[in-house]
Each structure stands twice: as C-alpha cells, then as structure tokens.
Symmetry: C2
Subunit: 224 residues, 2 copies
DNA sequence: CCAAAAGTGTTAGTGGTACACCCATGT
DNA sequence: ACATGGGTGTACCACTAACACTTTTGG
C-alpha cells in the first residue's frame, strides 16, 4: 500500500501558444524515445522537489523557448491511470501565451528530435492525452478572452486595431464585425492611442495603440 | 535525481459544500495526528494507483458522507513545496455540492476526531493551505453560478422560488431583487412548474418547481 | 486610376436593474 | 385583524448585432 502510493510520478506539460503567419500555433516537440517514439508531444518535465508547480512550468517554458515573464496559467490536472502506457504519471497542464517576436527556440537533441510550431487546426499525431490537453487550453483561452484582456499577450507592444481584431478572430475561430469590434475596444479603457502610424504597410497607414496596463489593476485582474 | 522524483506524494482534497440552517457550509474533519493535530482539514486522501483523479475524489466523498452521484469538479492543483511541513505533497483540489438531506456522515475514529459542517464565514483554524483551497472553491462556485445551473445541486428535488433565491444569495453572499430574480428564472427554461404547493409552511402556500434536466443537454452543459 | 486596407454611425433588440404594492394563509 | 411570506409589472439604461460606404495610400 505504501509502496503503491510512492510509485506515482508527476509532471507538468505546457501548451505554449503564439501567433505566427496569421495562425494560432502550439509548440510541440518530437519524441526520440518510446513510448510514442516520433510522435509529437507537449513540452513538459518532472516537477522538482523544491519548486512550485508554476516554477516547473516556467522552467519548461524557459528551456524550450528562452522566454520568461509570460502569461502562464494552470489549466487542469490529468490523471487517468491509462494515460501513460507504462507507469502512472499524473500531469499538471499549463498554458502560456507568448509573443512570436520574443522566441528563441532551443532544445536538447538527446531527448528531442525537433521542436516546431503547429497550427491548432492541423495537429499531427500526438503522444499520450496531449490532444485533449491542447483542446482544453484553447477552450480556456476562449473563455478568458471574453472577459479578460489576454489577447495583448500575443501582440507586440504597439499594434493596430486590425491586428488586435485578427488576434481575437484567430483565437475564437470566427469572424467579428469590424465596426462593432472597434467601438467596443475604443470605448473600453484597454487601449492607449499612440501618436505613430504604421509606415511599412503598403497601403493606408494605420493608427498604433498600446495596451493600457493601468486597466489590469483598476479591474483587479490577474496578472501573469 | 531519480530518487528525488520518486519522493513526491499526491493526494486529493475535497471541498464538500451544502446548505444547512440557511447557511453555506463546508465539511471539515478534525485531525488526530501531527502535523496540525486538532486543526480542522478538508477530507482528503492519497490517490490510488489504479484510480482516476475523479474517482479518488468520489471515494473520499463516499467515505465521509455516504453520498454518490453528486456534482463534483476539479478545482486546481496546489503544489507549493512548503504547503506540507514534512514532505512534498501535491494535492489536487476538488469541490462537491451535495443536498443536505442526502447526507449520512461517517468517519474512521482512528484518523479523525470529528467531522463537522462549518459556515464558510466562520472557519476555524485550518491545516495546511486548506483555507486557500476553500476560498478558491467558493470563487469557482460563484463563477459557475453566473452561467450554469449549479444551485439545483444544493436543493431538494422540489423547491420554491424563494428557496432557490435564498440559495443564490447564500452562494453569492449578497441580496437579490425578488422580482428580477423570478422574472429571469421563469423566462429561462430551467424550471418545470409543478401542480403542488407547499403545505407545511405556516403562511401562504408557495408554488413548487423542479429542475428541468432537458436544459442541460439542450445547452451542452457539463453534467456531474 | 485601381487595389487594398483604414476608418466611421445608426437602428433595433435584448437583458439587466431599480422600484412598491396586493394576496393568501395561519394564528 | 394582523403578521408573514408569496406573488406581480413597468420604465430606463447599457450592451449587442446587423449593416455599407468613404478615405488614404502605393503601385
């Protein structure tokens, strides 16, 4: 009985999301070993004795992408005894939102064959229950988007309203009316209007905005 | 390193909520052993190798209250390395809603001195981080109440609108306008109006309603 | 001058909130 | 007859959703 208790293993797995090439993407690593050799999996790892769960997730994130100070939230804990084919592994799922521009992918070639971004609508064959974890993350992100300004975590510091709208659309997987969207955003206190306009674009320049961080405190929202 | 990984322990702790004597209450057990001897704690236990996390929470619930088929939802996983004074114990928090009428409290006197309902506004000194877990459960319950018919899990099969309103008020911790509440409830499809009226009450009889279970499926809500 | 993205208002409907009095029953 | 809880409607406001054309720039 006591022996039984001791033989659980516990890990974190992190659904790392970003926007690349106009698509919402998740970072996956390709396994070099059994079980699920050659399948893709979420970046994850064992939880060390001295670290909190959040710290374990941050460490995994740092190891794979080199970023820190990102939006990170615990999702759910997955513990089906059959989720791992060989032993009992319980995993605490996390999801993170990162800015594509900040990323510096890196990995240890012993354990990982490749690290790659995959569109959430075109997922490869996944190890364990990782497909379910990704779906859960997207569901949670959509819920958060309704009443919390998470989209800004995926955008650069300065962005146009069209970029913001596209971000919402990519997350929600549906189109939004442009006028209604702008009206709502501009009447909220989320945005700070900047002096600058876009210049690179080959068409009419667009106004740039930044996210008004004072909003977070004013509304008692969770910070990352 | 490998040894380190093996020395995590993992438990479930369940915040069991009900309504008794017009108050929202949580079930606590009094510890007979160190650490936290004589302090009150959430019912919990180790997760067995062969059971899912949900099953572990259901087992704990069954052991303490004798009820099954109740609303049960995973809350969050708590894993601060310092949350347990002696070893590294990660706990998966759950919360459950049960009908006061269904309860048959029972406990093993070796490990537990007492099992008792405590008003959520008058909590005793709690073991570990259990106060935080309870607060988290109440927060989650309030969120759920906004867009999901969880309150019915705490009520008998047949109930009056006033009972329903009081349940909402107890959970939210604030008063609700009677006319607006009734209008909203009656215009939803949540309720089935019954023929019967209350008789026991010493005042004007009240219409009885039951919860319309078809609503759950129609709106794709999670069942318990 | 054409293509492409930026920008802009009004209307109708829906849902939330505030608010006060009469009704049926038991004692 | 009175005390107690049951039951009812209206008006205002805020938010959502539907919907089409003009403006600015680069090529």
């Amino acid at each position: 009985m006591f022996n039984e208790i001791r033989s659980h293993e516990i890990t974190v797995d992190t659904v790392i999301l970003t926007i690349r090439k106009k698509k919402l993407k998740v970072l996956l690593v390709q396994r070099t070993q059994e079980p699920f050799k050659d399948h893709w999996a979420l970046p994850g790892g064992y939880i060390r004795l001295s670290e909190t769960l959040d710290d374990a997730a941050k460490r995994v994130l740092m190891e794979k992408t080199g970023v820190k100070n990102v939006y990170l939230e615990q999702l759910y804990t997955f513990g089906d005894p059959l989720r791992h084919p060989k032993s009992r592994v319980i995993t605490v799922g996390y999801y993170a939102l990162i800015r594509s521009e900040d990323i510096q992918l890196s990995f240890d070639t012993d354990q990982t064959k490749a690290v790659k971004w995959h569109s959430i609508y075109e997922l490869p064959s996944l190890a364990y229950d990782h497909k379910q974890i990704i779906e859960y993350a997207i569901e949670r992100l959509r819920e958060r988007l309704e009443y919390t300004p998470v989209a800004f975590q995926l955008l650069p510091k300065r962005f146009t309203l069209t970029q913001l709208q596209k971000t919402y659309e990519m997350i929600l997987g549906k189109e939004i009316d442009k006028r209604n969207f702008r009206k709502k955003m501009l009447s909220s206190e989320l945005l700070t209007e900047l002096e600058e306009m876009t210049k690179e674009g080959s068409k009419r320049p667009a106004r740039l905005y930044s996210f008004n961080k004072a909003y977070i405190e004013k509304n008692h929202l969770k910070q990352y």
